[in-house]
Symmetry: C2
């Protein structure tokens, strides 16, 4: 890489395939921003949705990547991918955005971000591990704690374990002293989740009565879901009276819910997405204090990003898919 250009994973057209452009200009240096020398990035479903044209307000071309870790100002750093959240912890302000579209992202030799988005890397993590943390860790932390209000000794239902966020939900819930019930359609993922500390593992594909098994393993204080659809409706029926359901995605589409289950049981159904700067700082402190190590699925070189994206799209991964920036 020479001084004026860098390698970057660029997406130039919707429904296109991202590829490395070896002569991408370096980001401009702007007052109030830091240029981070990226060493590792990581994939999120967001990147796949952008590639597939399934994300609101797509503007191309762009350098993909919300997650990144590297070096800046002589120290190892990790980047908060939430840009311009604002002062209200309840909700991001209009105009807030996520690193990696429209702003050029982390799958590049360098990325420019506001100074306040640059944090010291937790000392116990490698750069690959630190790159696995930001978006999924932030989303999981806010879902479980800021929104879900998880307490030690409570039981958490984690639907569809295996994805980046749900894997952090499992790790964080265990570190916080909760009991965990995980579901997946894959026995292999359930085995891995059990190895990470899941107390009850239920296969919704092979066990037709999975929903009864979930309820039997309760009472469930908190369910964390990103499927939506019938799974969200099941979560609403599964939690105990006075329980909470936190939702951060809806890949299975609309949910038909029974109002009676919500009002008669005094439930909270709580939406969340990303997290505030306070959430990010609290998440990093929690990870450092509890010495949590992200579950990493595979590490790919930049040139194989299309293959990595396919693996994520097909939901084969368990934990985070890291892209080593070279």
């Amino acid at each position: 890489m020479n001084e004026a250009s860098m390698r970057a994973v660029r997406l130039t057209e919707t429904m296109g395939v991202p590829a490395v452009d070896p002569a991408t200009p370096l980001p401009a240096r702007i007052e109030g921003e830091t240029l981070v020398r990226v060493r590792a990035a990581a994939l999120n479903h967001r990147d796949v949705y952008i590639m597939q044209g399934k994300y609101p307000g797509i503007t191309l071309p762009v350098t993909l990547g919300s997650d990144g870790a590297g070096e800046a100002d002589g120290r190892e750093v990790v980047i908060d991918p939430m840009l311009g959240w604002g002062d209200d912890d309840r909700v991001w302000r209009t105009g807030a955005s996520i690193l990696g579209m429209p702003r050029d992202g982390t799958m590049a030799g360098y990325v420019a971000v506001p100074n306040e988005n640059v944090h010291a890397k937790p000392a116990h993590l490698s750069l690959d591990e630190a790159a696995a943390l930001p978006l999924a860790g932030l989303t999981a932390y806010r879902a479980l704690f800021t929104r879900g209000g998880l307490s030690s000794g409570e039981t958490v239902l984690i639907t569809g374990v295996g994805g980046g966020v749900q894997t952090f939900v499992l790790l964080f819930a265990k570190a916080a002293g909760a009991r965990t019930i995980v579901t997946s359609g894959s026995d292999e993922k359930l085995t891995r989740a059990t190895a990470l500390g899941a107390d009850v593992a239920i296969n919704y594909r092979t066990d037709e009565a999975w929903y009864k098994a979930v309820r039997k393993a309760g009472p469930i204080d908190l369910a964390v879901d990103s499927a939506g659809g019938a799974t969200l409706a099941r979560c609403i029926d599964a939690v105990r009276p006075g329980g909470r359901v936190v939702l951060y995605g809806g890949s299975n589409g609309d949910a038909t819910v029974r109002p009676f289950s919500i009002f008669w049981n005094h439930l909270d159904v709580l939406g969340t997405s990303m997290g505030s700067p306070r959430d990010f700082a609290a998440m990093l402190a929690f990870v450092e204090r509890e010495r949590i190590r992200p579950a990493i699925d595979r590490v790919y070189p930049m040139d194989r990003v299309a293959e990595a994206m396919r693996r994520m799209d097909e939901a084969h991964q368990f934990g985070k898919i890291v892209i080593r920036v070279d």
Copy 2:
């Protein structure tokens, strides 16, 4: 009425019609309970649902009535209809119940209730007005404040104004300094709601674009709904990012909701039903401090209870239907 018996509105069979039994035995005197000489009762949808066999766990025969005001121990009192809520303010305990089935209710010369359910009547209210307060006032107070967290200056959407609870939601929201948007299918009810202080009134039957009008009148911080169905889905789409939807009923059945609206906008969808002893005491104090007078639709004598129930079932009322106990 002689010493051993009393007049009471009895329902003896599901799908039957409640009628006055002039020789109902007085409730037994039990340690820890108070015998209230009832002067006025009031109807709730619950009574109609019980009559129609549409309520969980119906046991008959029973004296109907959750709402009552009268005299006990030489003072005028109003009755908290929530029995055995328990210590957790988030949710009632298993086994909690509502006065007026299975326990004999207030449409009778006397009703026996636990001592702690008997409260001094707010001084500015008549006994008819006090009888209109308990169940609907409690539900509205908890929906707006305990669950909805309403603050002065916020905007509240109140769907289907006219019923007892929604009318209290309107009165309480105005007293708390909120701006209110009400909807109804009846211009007459909208006119009455406007007279009670509603800031924006929208007819969902005559205005096909009512939903757009609601959004235009926003941003809406909090929606309070008991319809469920498509109305609940509209409420979820109508509130501002970071807003809340509180749900205490579901007469229109299942709702098809879009997970994206909930998680992307960081919404709270919160179920509630009745309220805790703390909610009831806070509601009474609020009503007394703000000198709120319930909206009373009509006052019926006991003998015309079947006609009163029909009026409620057909949703002709605006505010509470009172049954004078004679």
